[in-house]
Amino acid sequence: MTTTSSRRRTIGAGATLGAAVLLLSPTMAQASTEADGSVERPDEFTSAFSVMATPDQVIDADGEVSPGEEGATGDFMFWINSEEEVICYEITLTGVTGDYESPADTATHIHEAAAGEPGPPRLAFPNPEPVGDEPRTSSGCMAGPFTTGVEGDDGADTGEGFSLAEIEANPAGFTGDSHTEEFADGVVRGQLAQVPLDGIETGGGGMQQSSTQTGVFAGMGVLALAGGGAWMLMRRNQNA
């Protein structure tokens, strides 16, 4: 079955005005943040990341395996614009039961942690909802500077000073997870893997151009035939 989704066209006068504003005042490039911390989705991103979070990847603070909820999975997708410090997220949890629990502002995070290693949360996302129903989902965009609500060894918030460019520099050094009351170490967890942005440029247009040329030649042929017919008609009229 072939399906075609609707085309999105957003570039227009607004984009032109936006570019002019950026030229005039670079400091205004910062995304405007709503009261709940969310921002509008940027027109463009600099990178995208996918996470397949599973219970078997969960570890405790000592780096020991601490399995999450059996049968649970987490599908995390992130889009980053590191120039504007904006991250957009689409998170889906399935098979997760019970309430969330975490010392952070929320219980759904990106930690700076390699596979099998513990590490501090750098970003805290709104928890997927609804609790008690399937699937739990959370989506939106948020902009830095970021806070997590967790105080690090240095006394500062673990999100303080964090830049999204750090994820782009080493995606495998970051992990996505979520925590519940029953599975405080993590109900599911998985490493970030970079995936491509946008569509794939797999064509040079040669077939369309050749068909266009064929159409042009065909059109020229029709015109030539019509011209020839008209000329012969004129000759006949002159001879009559």
Partner: protein
Amino acid sequence: MSLTPVQLSPRTAERARRRPFWVAAALAAGLGLSGCGAETTADAADPPEAAEPAEATGQTGGSSGAEETAGTGGADGPDSSAVSSEAGVPPVGVSIPSIEVDESLIDLGIAADGTMEVPEDWDDVGWFDGGGMPGGAGPTVLAGHVDSTTGPAVFHRLEELSAGDEVFVTDAEGTVHEYRVERTAVFPKDDFPTQEVFGVLPEDELRLITCTGRFDQEVQSHEDNHIVFAVPVDSADAP
């Protein structure tokens, strides 16, 4: 295998066009604007030729878990619900008998602008090496051009594939992985379903990608991508 971006893709050029003039001018002067599909150069890999595909056995691992199984060709029930915990083995060849494709594969990565590299040669088929591998978890993504600047290219008949058609992918260990087309779809490039195509999965799946739709002369790019989604039927050792 190193991958070195050398040219701007039409999409990159389009982005440059949207940026302030001096930025676009600098990019154009420094790198040169190119035709579609020449965004990056993948090394001229020389993987072994794909083994002859094993005869389709029709064996399945169970009923289809696909929601959008189309047509009747998938009646054998490709096992899309089988969860693979293995990493898989890098693919080196692809064979699609119904459209007479039998090609070795080159590796493709992610370009500097965040988009996927594409083969520089119109007749090469590439594998996204940041994704899944045959026999392992996650989607194995293969891409090829639908046309060159002058005529048809390696995937010009990809749109002919429909549910039930067979695709054989040979891995570096010589194992032939048999997939069956589950569905096809067309997506605008400016609304590309990244998660659906590249998102990490617990299952072994296959994606085949090429261009389709109107060719925009201004940005030297087709407007849409045609994507074939396939699921494994079985694997068999290469003869």
